[in-house]
Amino acid sequence: MPVFEVFQQAREGKAFEHGGNVVAPDADMAILYAREFYGRRQEARRIWVVPRECIVEINDPDLLHPPAVDRSYRTVGGYSVRDTLRATRGAVAGSAQPD
């Protein structure tokens, strides 16, 4: 029997998160199960039910977990301005003329 993945939106405006899945012979039954499992305590504002075979996973370690590629140049952590900033501040303070 086909598997249907269930996504829930917990609060208004939030992203949908994967909640779990149900097994059902067709979409109508999947919706019925999802209603009962994921909707009955109002734990979700909205629910999406998606046939599992419609989900495509990108499984590419070279992209997602590159072992030896330094991509820090595209992150905030790749730049440490502390020392240069201190030197610049020091130079600015040193050059200030007393009144």
């Binding site: 208004e12 595209r74 900033l85 600015v92």
Partner: protein
């Protein structure tokens, strides 16, 4: 006959309920019912944002081949890639509101829709790249952070990813500016000159001080803060950082009024802003021509992907 906005009859009670919902912090998803004016207003706002991301890379791409080091080149390339990616995310949000990507790109190329004022100006040196990455992106993130609370939820969620990526741009821009301000006198002068060029466009950036009650984007909470508040927030956060580097801000009127608890500054020429964003900026035509050329050059890709006969 094609239905136009004027012919769509909306139940006033339903519109009133919708307005109450968004004004009290409620969210709207793309499949929800919404008044036609709201849909058009969000579409116009997001489309302009998308156009700005797409046009914003043009002044920066000119500098990829002139970057001073390999690391700077990698970082600038990554930033350009990010910005084009933002355009893609935003055009998707806009498309869901009922205008096709082809129509949006065509309107941009025809000068029928706008993009942000700062992308209509020329760049003269690497210092412009540094000031753009630091201060233009900082001004932008001030607006974008306020959009995290937009009533249009798909836009707000997209903004989470965008703000996260923009924070790298700002950090890298700051790194470039601080490095040059710690360098030779010539480097310091270059940064000061770039700041002088960019200051007025930066003051213009958040838009004229439109009365909050006349601002439909605020009315529907498409954006959560008025223009003048965003500008004050930007000033409070960045003016001290600019000054501590030994830079001078080219506005003799600029000061913090401790009594009013706000920045005072020379009122910029708002007519210049209006002219620039309506297609009369110093680089408007060049940038649009470059975009037109790129669009024509890549026509074959769209034909192949969309399965059209070449």
């Amino acid at each position: 006959m094609v239905a136009t906005v004027d012919t769509i009859v909306e139940d006033p009670a339903r519109v009133e309920e919708f307005v109450k919902h968004v004004q009290s912090g409620g969210k709207v998803e793309s499949g929800d019912w919404m008044p036609e004016e709201y849909r058009k207003q969000v579409l116009r706002f997001v489309e302009m944002h998308a156009n700005s991301e797409l046009m914003g890379v043009l002044p920066e791409r000119e500098w990829i081949n002139k970057a001073p080091t390999l690391k700077r080149k990698l970082a600038l390339t990554a930033k350009v890639q990010d910005e084009v990616g933002h355009a893609e995310l935003l055009y998707r949000v806009a498309e869901d509101l009922g205008k096709t990507r082809e129509a949006m790109l065509q309107d941009l190329l025809d000068g029928k829709t706008k993009f942000h004022n700062v992308f209509h100006y020329p760049t003269y040196s690497w210092a412009d790249v540094a000031i753009i990455a630091w201060l233009v992106d900082a001004a932008a993130i001030q607006s974008q952070k306020a959009l995290l609370d937009s009533s249009y939820a798909p836009y707000a969620r997209t903004m989470q990813k965008i703000c996260w990526e923009e924070s790298f741009h700002i950090k890298h821009g700051y790194d470039m500016v601080v490095t040059m301000m710690n360098g030779t006198q010539q480097q310091k002068d270059m940064i000061q000159e770039a700041l002088n060029r960019w200051w007025v466009p930066l003051v213009h950036f958040h838009g004229p001080p439109t009365l909050a009650e006349k601002d439909r984007d605020l009315y529907y909470r498409i954006k959560a803060k008025p223009n003048f508040v965003l500008r004050q927030e930007f000033f409070s956060k960045y003016i001290p950082k600019i000054l501590e580097l030994g830079l001078t801000i080219p506005d003799p009127e600029l000061r913090f009024d401790t009594e009013a608890n706000e920045w005072r500054y020379s009122d910029p020429d708002w007519n210049e802003l209006k002219l620039v964003v309506t297609g009369h900026g110093p680089k408007t035509e060049d940038r649009l021509n470059l975009r037109r050329m790129a669009y024509a050059d890549t026509q074959w890709v769209r034909d192949v992907v969309l399965g059209r006969a070449a």
